[in-house]
Subunit: 350 residues, 2 copies
């Protein structure tokens, strides 16, 4: 089969790789239909992640092709959503909804696991990992597929940010960041009953419009101290009850912490790069820092009905659509911020 | 009247200062009966806080001597507990129990406010600040007074650490630190239903015994990586559901973060000195950092019955008792770790 391989800074190629097969009785093999490119794939693309020769991609949906003898929850032919990390479903972390810490779990593309931007993938612990889009395993409506694809990572990640921030009905929420996670954090804040959602840190008109479409009431185009002053003005000095940090850089983190009202929570969901937080300034304000890697598998069952019913349309953040052969161009466009997030149609015959 | 004044590194003197009087209609004047020396007073004592000439002390109890015309909740003669910060009781923060962020509040000994180690104090916003020990304002039993004194700061502070950590019944809690806040955090963890409380970071036999008396199941005498290994062993590698950081140094903070299980919370309640937390190592474990300055006024009403009923005896952490004239020696003994925490009987005629 063919799959995307990172071959060095700003070089992604489709290459021939071994076909996956059932290795453990709990495995399934999934034929990938659509994949997305994640902001974290871009870190790799820019040479700040795994080394050359690494398979890439971890957001994907498709059809079960084969299952091991111990798999009970899915059958060949089922249309499934694949979370961005596989998990056993049995350990103490999986049982309490923290599948991101599963003791047997792992990341796609690491330790001999297949990755998500390819024609197929062997899925370890199929019962603990895969989620059928519809109860009978049938194929969902075509128009829903991009939003279902967003359930593999970005929609749950935005939801994780909002949930961990403890948003209460009526709260003022500031989302820092204008990427796909940012707009999904806006959406999740809305779903959790936020009274007012401000999206901060973007002067990009298209992204501002998208944030509004996802539920932002106000846009603060400034960054840094200017953003702090803008939020001060918008809130009459009260600042935010919850701040969702969706960038992960030292500058955005520092801004997020300054936006928090006394007693507020700052929730982050992107891997922080080089971020050290000085504690003393938070002490007098009782500001909580929470978040971390999202246990997507825990949230998919609860967010799935919102997508199927058309209440949430996270797929609207997929602003570019590419054929499988055009996957390198998807990376180029995201890297140059020409598109927010890329959807790739995987061609089984390519 | 006479009051303690910080006069330079390791120099505290009792000096003549102006008698307090009612200045605002919401003021009260309190005659101080007992005061305690706080770990944060020691930072000042060691030259790492306010400058020479500063009045010191913020943990005190006593009797209302006079009230302004707008004070309705206390009368002259009432025996009261004074929280370590005064607060208006009316602003949006006071109303939601975050009196530590009161917009009109302040610290004892700063901005012309009296401090707590003296014969009297003018109490701004008496209705928002003072709490009668007994509903009728009468004097409590003598034996209860040290524990009531601990309600002004250290018991609520330990409780704040435990409460913010979100301790659930059965949880494994590690308290880092062997000071008065540490043992009170042990006590509070117990009150909130912790299944197992481990006190870490002290090889001081007397303090270990005190921690056990306050409810610690186990003592880890090691610090740093050795403490991490010891807790790993005690918990079969599972680590703590909640870690209460009660020291505030970079080393103790680093240890506290390492002791947290995936999904756990690290709660800190002492002003962190020079602590910067790198975020990346917390990301994969979803570790929350919370805490901050305790809104003592919010907790006094709920902890008071536990003290009056003898369920909680936080006063047992007051290991040294000093006359008013011996107050400088109280500082010397705490500084040299000869006593954990000093109680001072204030003599109205000294």
């Amino acid at each position: 089969m063919r799959a995307a391989v990172y071959e060095g800074e700003r070089t992604i190629r489709l290459e021939d790789v071994p076909d996956p097969r059932i290795e453990e009785p709990t495995d399934a093999v999934v034929r990938i239909e659509q994949a997305a490119v994640c902001g974290s794939d871009l870190w790799t693309y820019r040479g700040m992640g795994a080394g050359p020769g690494t398979r890439i991609g971890h957001e994907f949906v498709g059809t079960v092709e084969e299952t091991g003898p111990k798999v009970t929850s899915v059958r060949p032919g089922d249309w499934v959503i694949v979370p961005f990390r596989y998990s056993c479903g049995q350990c103490r972390f999986c049982r309490r909804g923290l599948q991101s810490s599963c003791v047997r779990g792992g990341f796609w593309g690491r330790e001999c696991a297949d990755a998500g931007q390819g024609q197929k993938a062997r899925v370890p612990f199929a019962d603990g990992t895969l989620v059928r889009a519809l109860p009978d395993g049938s194929r969902p409506e075509e128009s829903l597929v991009p939003s279902l694809l967003m359930l593999s990572d970005v929609f749950p990640t935005g939801y994780h940010a909002a949930l961990r921030a403890g948003i209460k009905p009526g709260d003022t929420v500031v989302v820092v960041g204008d990427g796909a996670v940012g707009v999904n954090a806006v959406l999740a804040s809305r779903l959790l009953g936020a009274g007012r959602v401000i999206n901060a840190g973007s002067s990009h008109g298209d992204r501002n419009a998208l944030a509004r479409r996802f539920g932002a009431d106000e846009i603060v185009t400034e960054r840094g101290e200017d953003a702090v002053r803008a939020v001060e003005e918008l809130t009459c000095g009260r600042m935010a009850d919850a701040v969702l940090e969706c960038v992960g850089t030292p500058a955005s983190f520092a801004t997020a912490l300054r936006l928090a009202a006394p007693g507020a929570t700052v929730s982050y969901v992107g891997l922080p790069h080089g971020v050290d937080v000085p504690m003393a300034p938070l002490f007098s304000r009782n500001v909580t820092i929470t978040g971390g890697i999202c246990p997507a598998r825990a949230y998919i069952p609860r967010l799935l009905p919102l997508v199927l019913d058309g209440i949430a349309k996270p797929g609207d953040a997929l602003t570019g659509r590419y054929s499988f052969g055009d996957l390198p161009r998807a990376y180029e466009d995201m890297d140059a911020r020409r598109t927010l997030k890329a959807l790739v149609d995987v061609d089984p015959r390519a």
